[in-house]
Point group: C2
Chain length 210, copies 2
């Protein structure tokens, strides 16, 4: 269906239902894990009968796979921040901003992703071995080039990438812990900014880019 065609009522309903189900599933999978999540709970949260879920998504696995893929897309898109930057300060700074923003806006997705990887990536192992592996190699090469050009200190590019992932995703995956240590209150706008700035400052200075 082309974008300029008028959408039929059916198409609109389908699209909306799928979106509701996916959103509900993301939340339930994040909060209960794959094994702890139930189709009934997802259905209730989406406001649909359980049998209807199985009309749109044949099995729990299929629904889960869609959720994980959706997250992977967002995740990869943030990687764009890395490109078209003259040097490490701009690239890594923008990447940290983007990933921190994802942690803030998509905490459920981040948790589902973390859970998937922690359990051995049963669903997205092929993505790890293809897309992610290539992406990582490309960025590691880029970082190495910056090092060779004297734009930053000689650090292991891969461990730097792991550090970026770990630090930014921590704010989503361990958000509950952070909230608890913040007096039980979610981080405010100001605190999120402070978090971003802290991470950027420490890492950029840590790699000798500033």
């Amino acid at each position: 269906m082309a974008a300029n065609e008028r959408m039929s009522k059916r198409d609109a309903t389908r699209r909306e239902n799928e979106a509701r189900i996916l959103a509900a599933a993301e939340k339930v999978f994040a909060e209960a894990g794959f094994g702890g999540a139930t189709m009934q709970l997802i259905a209730d949260m989406a406001g649909l009968p359980k049998a209807n879920l199985h009309y749109y998504f044949a099995t729990k696995e299929e629904l889960y796979r869609k959720v994980v893929q959706q997250i992977f897309e967002i995740w990869l898109h943030a990687a764009d921040s890395f490109d078209n930057a003259p040097g490490p300060v701009e690239a890594i700074g923008a990447y940290i901003d983007a990933k921190m923003e994802i942690s803030r806006r998509h905490p459920f997705g981040s948790k589902v992703w973390a859970s998937e990887v922690m359990h051995g990536a049963p669903v997205i192992q092929d993505y790890l071995e293809t897309t992610l592996r290539e992406w990582t190699k490309g960025r590691a090469d880029l970082i190495q080039r910056w090092i060779d050009e004297g734009k930053m200190a000689p650090v292991d590019p891969r461990h730097l990438l792991y550090m970026l992932w770990a630090t930014t995703q921590h704010y989503a995956d361990f958000g509950h812990q952070i909230e608890t240590l913040n007096g039980g209150k979610p981080l405010t706008d100001r605190q999120w900014k402070a978090a971003k700035d802290s991470v950027k400052t420490i890492i950029l200075r840590g790699i000798g880019a500033i």
Copy 2:
């Protein structure tokens, strides 16, 4: 029972069985999540009939709680590295070493801990609010003192701590991803050392301590 008393056969068996069950449970909970883990699987892995598990641990929740508590102990013990150090370089360096070693030696425990926190800490919320909160405040104050004394750059102590946790635990929690990006092979001794050094270098330079 005092330590110098001879242990009866019964006591020895009990101790051994509990240890086997806890080890098996840690692995299964880490790999499948609480919801995905089954008592049958834990029993098989421990080499005991399922009914026997329920003799030692009344419910799945109780077994899980023991596993999580065990991990928290190890986690807290690593925190000792922070003490009795003259300044940030020694303290944070030792802490990174200790936590990286835990990630390497107790990857299952780390995953269970991560999973527990990600799911809202249903079991160890009270620990977060008491022990962890106090520990964090103490170390944050200590870091602030170092800043005031000019031993390191002014960074937000709490965000620094989060960064330490995130970065070190990442090597356990996302170990599968790292292994995949390492050509499907676990990190070698040399690579673990490189990881530790990278983390220490970037962070210690990042906080202006070296």
